[in-house]
């Protein structure tokens, strides 16, 4: 349980740092906007071991990115909500960046982040319009047996027709026909 809580905490900081970094590299001075999209960097995993590996991946990428972010720009988070196993909402402090304020809110249920809301972030190159239509990738580690049936399509390195029958996509196609 302790590991799972730590994972949530590290993921929260990952999210905040990622957005802090992101805006610090944007090239357009902009006004702050409200934007919302669902999704998270967490795994919606069903087993403890799977959650462990997903956590390793998420925090690994966060620390890499965090190294590039100006420390003074990073926001801190109010993490009081995440230590309980029930659903809660966690709102990060507003992070002031060169390009404008960034603020992230997470919905947490037990050990899973169920939603990420960007309360504020600076507009950059019309990206807000784009990002509303898709979510951040959710890092997971799962097999087709576990949760693959909730996947509509599979994206992977180019499928040749020869290799296709072994791919996940073929399983999805067969299930749907």
């Amino acid at each position: 349980m302790k590991r799972i809580v730590l994972w949530v905490l590290s993921t929260i900081s990952t999210v905040v740092v990622l957005f802090g970094y992101h805006t610090s590299t944007s090239s357009v001075m902009a006004t702050s906007r409200e934007g919302t999209f669902s999704g998270s960097l967490s795994g919606q995993t069903t087993s403890g071991s799977a959650a462990g590996s997903a956590a390793g991946s998420a925090s690994g990428s966060g620390s890499t990115t965090g190294g590039s972010a100006p420390p003074s720009d990073s926001g801190s988070t109010d993490t009081s909500g995440s230590s309980s196993a029930s659903s809660s909402t966690v709102t990060g402090d507003v992070a002031q960046t060169r390009w404008g304020p960034v603020q992230v809110q997470l919905d947490v249920s037990g050990s899973t982040i169920t939603d990420v809301t960007i309360l504020q972030y600076p507009d950059s190159n019309g990206r807000d319009v784009e990002i509303a239509s898709y979510s951040l990738p959710q890092l997971i580690q799962e097999t087709l047996d576990a949760q693959g049936d909730s996947i509509s399509m599979v994206s992977g390195a180019t499928y040749t027709s020869q290799g296709y029958l072994q791919s996940l996509q073929s399983a999805l196609d067969q299930a749907g026909l």
Binding site: L18, F19, Y21, H22, T25, S26, S38, G39, L41, Q44, S57, A58, G60, S61, T64, T65, S124, N125, R127, E130, I131, S133, Y134, S135, L136, P137, Q138, L139, I140, Q141, E142, T143, L144, Q147, G148, D149, S150, I151, S152, M153, V154, S155, G156, A157, T158, Y159, T160, S161, G163, Y164, Q166, S167, L168, Q169, S170, L172, D173, A175, G176, L177
Partner: protein
């Protein structure tokens, strides 16, 4: 089986040497009008194959390759694709290039790094015109997603683990947008850094999500070719995606 799987009609055809998968749900998930749009998409893809295939000796691109035709004599679409490739060459500092120099010193056109995404983006048009219908059209794992209701249930796109194709490393909910993955899985190391001619091995796969399939496909391929510099390059372009390193690490780019 699940709510997500319910009501999805699927089609698969093999064109351009790869499976073309279509998923539809909603008003015209599975009726004559939907079938008509699907056939129109296939006609478009077969036309692209006839013009651009480097495997067909009679394609425009093959004729340019043999010096039998100039770009000006080809279908205007060839020049359009070459222009996209040359733009990508500039933005990738030369790592992405549709022109390759053979061992015999001849410059050859190989636009396959641009054509797939560009072709799907064109082919999906009749499907996007189906009212009240969600569609997801994938060519060999690179896809355009669209939901009729902009707040509707997104398509859930699973990102394959390049080290184990029976597993997924990420899931990306997409309402309206495109997802492209480049990697060495399935085909072996087929992406080379055009600056060195050496296959890139630092990254196992790169997935990019964005508005236009043409551009996310090019950027995914470019980042793969850039290797260790790929994730930083994607961030400099404000890209969103997933990178799987050759050693198995999974990194989100956002």
């Amino acid at each position: 089986m699940t709510a997500v799987g319910a009501g999805i009609a699927r089609r698969v055809e093999h064109v351009m040497g790869m499976p073309i998968s279509l998923a539809r749900r909603g008003t015209h998930a599975d009726d004559d009008r939907a079938e008509e749009a699907w056939q129109a998409a296939l006609v478009e893809l077969r036309w692209v194959d006839a013009v651009f295939s480097t495997w067909r000796p009679d394609s425009d691109v093959s004729r340019v390759g043999r010096g039998e035709a100039t770009l000006a004599e080809c279908d205007p679409a060839v020049a359009e694709v070459v222009r996209l490739g040359e733009d990508a060459c500039v933005s990738s500092h030369g790592a992405f290039d549709v022109w390759r120099t053979d061992v015999d010193g001849v410059r050859r056109l190989d636009p396959s790094g641009v054509v797939k995404g560009w072709a799907v983006e064109r082919a999906v048009a009749p499907l996007l015109a189906l009212p009240g219908t969600d569609v997801c059209l994938s060519a060999g794992g690179d896809m355009v997603c669209h939901v009729a209701d902009s707040d509707g249930e997104p398509w859930a796109v699973g990102i394959e683990d390049p080290h184990d194709p029976s597993r997924l490393v990420a899931r990306i909910p997409v309402r309206r947008g495109a997802v492209a993955t480049s990697g060495s899985a399935h085909r072996g190391g087929h992406v080379v850094d055009a600056r060195t001619g050496v296959p890139s091995t630092a990254l196992a796969s790169v997935t990019v999500v964005g508005a236009s399939l043409t551009s996310v496909d090019i950027d995914a391929t470019t980042a793969l070719a850039l290797g260790v510099d790929g994730p930083g390059w994607l961030r400099s372009r404000l890209r969103t995606g997933v990178v799987v390193w050759a050693d198995g690490r999974v990194e989100t780019v956002a």
